[in-house]
């Protein structure tokens, strides 16, 4: 009998679904090898179907996305109960990801922006989502939206993690085949190499030994040299602090690494660490000059915690 596999999405951008689709023909092998019992984006299963299943009857649940609503919380717990193994897929599930940036605000702030202030919003009456709503005798409900976005393992116990925004199809199929072969590593493992991206960066050799940055630049401000180390060109490439395994996709696209694979296992707070490394390269010992150089880094908190705010030491902004 083929092992049962579930795919679920929480708060995410859909990239992780894309990743599955990006398996291309490979997906057929997956379908052939496993029995998909849940995949909201592609197939129609109901919550009841899953609830009806026996606990632990699903071999592995691949869950992407962060947890920010009661519905997502319920699904996470449900799948945990029904599955032998849960694999957090993608930066959102692993660290909160882009949705995690909402932790600089709270529900009220998010609603205000999204349903009222955003230039693209048309909402003359300024209606905001309600958890329950009466409509000619019927009670309509919506899941409750939390003030704080959480990573999956802040809600349920997670067995493995596949990092990335999104992860590469390769990482997924590796995981699946490891699963089929019953060769999964120790619990808690992040299924990607434990060194930083520079390790296999194609431009590694062009990075100077004594890098000193006197002016930080942003991608739209310069014509980025295709060959040279991007950080050495003054752009905030977070590769030195970011786990490899992505195949240097951004670098290949001549764009700096923004850190979606998160830190190595030896770093607790990604933002704090990368901040330390970057600041050290500021080329001055003069207080005013140091300030001038670092002024060129827009929104430091948002930049360094782009994907990992919910799992950082401080987790969210204090309001």
């Amino acid at each position: 009998m083929k092992p049962k596999v579930a795919f679920y999405w929480c708060a995410a951008g859909g990239g992780c679904e894309e990743m599955v689709v990006d398996l291309a023909e490979g997906i057929l092998d997956v379908v052939a090898a496993v029995d998909i019992v849940l995949w909201p984006v592609a197939m129609d299963f109901k919550k009841a179907d899953i609830e009806a299943m026996e606990d632990g009857s699903i071999a592995v649940a691949f869950i992407n996305g962060a947890v920010r609503t009661t519905e997502q919380e319920e699904w996470a717990h449900l799948l945990r109960r029904k599955s032998q193994a849960v694999i957090a897929v993608g930066a959102c599930a692993q660290m909160g990801g882009i949705p995690g940036l909402a932790n600089f605000s709270n529900r009220a702030g998010v609603f205000q922006t999204v349903y009222r202030d955003a230039p693209s919003t048309l909402n003359a009456e300024g209606v905001l989502p309600e958890t329950t709503h009466q409509d000619n005798g019927f009670t309509l409900t919506l899941p409750r939206f939390f003030d704080t976005v959480k990573a999956l393992d802040q809600v349920i116990d997670v067995d493995y993690t596949i990092p990335g925004c999104p992860p590469t199809p390769q990482l997924l199929s590796d995981a699946v085949s490891a699963l089929l072969a019953g060769k999964l590593p120790a619990k808690g493992t992040v299924l990607a190499p434990d060194q930083a991206l520079c390790m296999d960066c194609p431009r590694k050799d062009t990075k100077p030994e004594r890098l000193a940055i006197s002016e930080f630049k942003r991608p739209h401000q310069v014509l980025i040299d295709q060959e040279k180390c991007i950080l050495a060109q003054g752009l905030l490439c977070l590769g030195p602090a970011t786990r490899s395994g992505c195949g240097s996709r951004c670098i290949e696209g001549n764009m700096p690494c923004t850190g979606c694979f998160g830190p190595t296992s030896r770093v607790r707070d990604y933002g704090g660490k990368v901040l330390s490394a970057i600041a050290g390269s500021a080329d001055s010992n003069d207080e005013a000059e140091i300030a001038r150089i670092l002024d060129k880094i827009p929104d430091p908190a948002g930049t360094f915690y782009r994907y990992s705010l919910p799992v950082s030491e401080l987790q969210r902004k204090r309001l």
């Binding site: 704080t148 330390s276 600041a279 430091p300 969210r316 204090r318």
Partner: protein
Amino acid sequence: MPEPFEPRIVAFFCNWCTYLAADLAGTSRMKYPPNARVIRVMCSGRLDPQFILKAFADGADGVLIGGCHPGDCHYQEGNYKCLRRFNLLKRVVKEMGIEDDRLRLEWISASEGDRLRTVMIDMVEKVRALGPLNWNASLEEVAVS
């Protein structure tokens, strides 16, 4: 009745200047409030921003960093490296909603026991005025929904 608020301050002092200044304050029997808990590192350059963030996350109401005066670092330039990180860390910490006076960097040389005393007094007073930071609790209260 509830006890008056006593700030909890974690202090990171470099081994050669500020830690010695603190020893000197002791040998000179200077008095200052007992709120700070000193953690010794060889150089302010050893301070990984993760330590400071961890201290706040674990319940410190304030963090004080003490190093050698510019130009006086026992390791030549460690304090400058600290200064660079501090500048950037300040910006991030501010973004997270932590007031300016809660995170402080002071240059205090081995001979400045009295300066150490004044800084301690001043820091404790400023943080006391700000009230508890109490990070985790403050997270819960926004998280309730």
